[in-house]
Point group: C2
Chain length 137, copies 2
DNA sequence: ATACATGCAAACAATTTGCATATTA
DNA sequence: TAATATGCAAATTGTTTGCATGTAT
């Protein structure tokens, strides 16, 4: 998902592509890791006088529902990143810098038959640790 | 991990096996799913006049650190269940009743070599959905 | 008796909401 | 202009902490 696709999606659904909405998209577009609402607001404060958490959260939720962002919960805080809808995959998440590395393996393949009578609505497979560069400290 | 093991562990580490600590253990001992602090307090309120979240949380954390309980985070709330230290495994978690089903497959086996230069500190593999009985609604 | 546990009250942090105003299509 | 977005302030929810008191060993 890139910025223009996301903006089109917004417009098609009757939402307005405001400056802040675009800036939020731009913020996530060039990051390869999960970021929190706090990360985002500190970034936005540099270019706007007043940015409020309510707007941030409203838009993060909107983007999440629209599938523009993906969400994960870590230490009681929600973390967001651009959604790569093109192919299903999972992430290694660095505990230090938050960067992610894509994992192509999806364990669900091995588990489907084990859960034959269960209605699967979702799953999560995440690996935490230190990426190579964060180990050099 | 059963109640008596947990109580011994407490005592060995110099902690006291108080009535509430035992009741908390008893609460989790016969559940096969994750429960929240709120679940626990509603249960305890029936047998105690005053139970406070601070005590609950203090003990849940203690049990978590001691490895008596395992924790997962779901919808901004921490969920706890008895830790089955005997063998490493994962869970299907019912979105309706919270019950879990054990999954023997661990996807980490397939991923180790992909992350050769990464220091893995933990991982999470959880499957969400509806268990067979919760589908009959 | 003494160290650990608890309750109380209050603080915290992340997130959400109502409502009036501002902004985009 | 008509519908949607935003800011403000305040409320909510989940969780944590300090301190005085209570309790298990």
């Amino acid at each position: 998902m890139n910025i223009n696709e996301a903006i089109d999606l917004l417009k098609n659904k009757g939402y307005k592509a405001t400056g802040k909405r675009k800036d939020i998209l731009a913020y996530f577009a060039d990051k390869d890791g999960y970021r929190t609402a706090k990360d985002l607001i500190t970034h936005l404060e540099n270019r706007y006088d007043g940015v409020s958490f309510d707007t941030i959260y409203r838009n993060l939720h909107l983007y999440d529902e629209m599938g523009i962002l993906e969400t994960t919960e870590l230490n009681g805080e929600k973390h967001f990143r651009m959604n790569c809808t093109s192919h299903h995959h999972h992430h290694f998440i660095c505990n230090e810098c938050g960067k992610t590395k894509e994992i192509k393996v999806c364990p669900m393949d091995d588990v489907q038959q084990t859960l034959a009578n269960y209605a699967i609505e979702g799953h999560k497979f995440e690996i935490y640790g230190l990426c190579p560069s964060c180990q050099e400290h």
